[in-house]
């Protein structure tokens, strides 16, 4: 009887440790998916108060991870890449210095961290619902997921200017 209990306990412990390890690995994977900034963005429309509607295609092993990644990628794209194509006029990147991300590494690390400030400027449209044709399985382990998000670029620009990360038109004088 004692040996039976011992072996059951061992199995439970093993299963528990396996589950927690799997969770950590999964979390790490999803974090990796959301932090690697591999994405494509296109503008869908432009609001009156400096808000852009954007479709972000992110790559992920789990389609669900892509929603958070899309928000982060949208803000990243607007700051560092600019927007071209889609239904809007091409927009230049907010960062004029191509090395800004490396030069202000510490700032952007916390800015794009989980729950970081980036999330203040972006919302997923239609509660992050992904349209039928916007999920493509591109390999055995990877999906390309398109999510519509809305970014308040006016507010984002002001915040980065106030933090001294980017220069405003009048700040040079």
């Amino acid at each position: 009887m004692k040996t039976q209990i011992k072996s059951i306990l061992m199995v439970v412990i093993l299963l528990a440790s396996f589950a927690s390890t799997a969770q950590v690995v999964s979390k790490k994977k999803s974090k990796k998916d959301t932090h690697n900034f591999r994405y494509e963005i296109e503008c869908i429309g432009e609001g009156k108060q400096g808000t852009y509607a954007i479709k972000v295609f992110s790559y992920s092993k789990k389609p669900t991870v892509a929603i958070e990644a899309a928000k982060r990628n949208a803000v990243h794209g607007i700051i560092f890449k600019g927007i071209s194509g889609g239904g809007c006029i091409n927009k230049p990147a907010l960062a004029r210095d191509p090395n800004l991300e490396q030069e202000k590494e510490e700032f952007f690390k916390s800015f794009f961290a989980d729950g970081g400030k980036y999330s203040k400027f972006v919302v997923a449209s239609t509660d992050g619902a992904i349209e039928a044709g916007d999920v493509t399985k591109i390999s055995k382990k990877e999906f390309k997921v398109g999510v519509n998000v809305s970014v308040n670029v006016g507010l984002l620009r002001k915040d980065l200017e106030a933090a001294g990360i980017i220069k405003g038109l009048g700040s040079m004088f």
């Binding site: 432009e46 009156k48 400096g50 809007c88 006029i89 091409n90 927009k91 230049p92 004029r96 006016g154 620009r157 200017e161 220069k167 405003g168 038109l169 009048g170 700040s171 040079m172 004088f173």
Partner: protein, 319 residues
């Protein structure tokens, strides 16, 4: 306690003395373009020695076309939102009128004398800006909907260079002209501001681009080819001084005769170190003053007059 207060004072003083002074900020004003004024009948005609000259009548345009005021107000608002408030044309015109009326009425309580004003002063009493934002727009109607075509040009008032541009069409909509304008301009304003920013950044790296004219009073009796003031002709000496006063000796002497010199693409520094070792903002007026000082060293008097942040003229011979 005293020591702490003293330390704070010293720290503040040190910070203040090392802090870089602000560079002179250019003023920007939106005006309707000549084409728009001509199309809409807001031109003034005058006879200039037998030639009929047409100039835009901004006052008439502002007083007659409420849509223009709304369009300008929309763009002014958008630029202020982006941290660069613009000079307002309507207010500038009113200020000029009020100032002229004040000058006409004013007399000294001691002597009864009026405000001194030369014909040149009168000529210069116009709305001024360092960069003009010229707007041209057309509203195209298609049934109940209208669309807008617009061109926005940023022009350096002194070098005549186009420093920023945005041109485009708005989507057809049933909104008012200012609303259509806001929508159309908003889509292009980031690109416009981006090119404007490039112009400002270039200014800080390579110096502010200005123009400088040198002229000679006709009663002086000497000219820019006179060789009595040094090893070479006076004009050559001035060219040498210009090299000393410019960033990387960048300037272009486009006209040089015995009576005048015209320097274009003159790159002057944004800041200089003064005699006390302090950094201070430098502008075209200071360039005129420095050239005048250099002329004085060889015994030549001169009068210098600047026009905004980008143009200075020196008249050589006397003041």
């Amino acid at each position: 306690m005293k020591k702490i207060t003293l330390a704070i004072f010293i720290a503040l003083f040190t910070f203040a003395s090392f802090a870089q002074p602000k560079a002179k900020k250019p003023t920007i004003m939106i005006v309707p373009s000549d084409v728009w004024c001509n199309q809409n009948g807001f031109m003034q005609e005058f006879n200039n020695q037998g030639t009929v000259v047409k100039v835009p009548d901004y006052k008439k345009a502002m007083q007659s076309d409420p849509t223009l005021i709304q369009v300008i107000a929309q763009i002014n608002g958008m630029m202020a939102e982006r941290g660069f408030p613009l000079k307002n044309l309507e207010s500038a015109l009113k200020t000029l009128e009020a100032e002229a009326a004040d000058d006409n009425m004013r007399s000294s309580s001691t002597t009864g004398g009026g405000v001194s004003s030369s014909p040149t002063d009168k000529l210069k009493q116009v709305a001024k800006a360092d960069i003009w934002m010229q707007i041209t727009y057309n509203v195209n109607k298609k049934g109940p909907k209208s669309s807008i075509q617009f061109t926005l040009q940023g022009l350096d008032a002194y070098t005549d260079k186009q420093v920023a541009t945005a041109t485009g069409n708005g989507e057809p909509s049933s909104g008012s002209t200012p609303e259509l304008m806001q929508e159309a301009v908003l889509a292009h304003l980031d690109n416009f501001n981006s090119t404007l920013m490039t112009y400002f950044e270039d200014m800080f790296v390579n110096g502010r681009e200005v123009v400088c004219r040198i002229k000679v009073w006709d009663d002086w009796g000497e000219n820019l080819e006179t060789e009595e003031y040094g090893d070479d002709e006076l004009g050559i000496l001035i060219e040498g001084w210009m090299s000393e006063l410019t960033v990387n000796e960048v300037f272009n002497l486009t006209t040089s005769t015995e009576n005048q010199m015209f320097f274009e693409q003159v790159r002057i520094p944004m800041w200089v170190i003064d005699a006390k070792g302090k950094e201070k903002a430098y502008d075209v007026r200071a360039l005129g003053k420095d050239l005048r000082k250099k002329l004085k060293t060889v015994g030549v008097e001169a009068k210098a007059e600047n026009d905004g942040l980008g143009k200075v003229t020196l008249w050589i011979g006397h003041k």
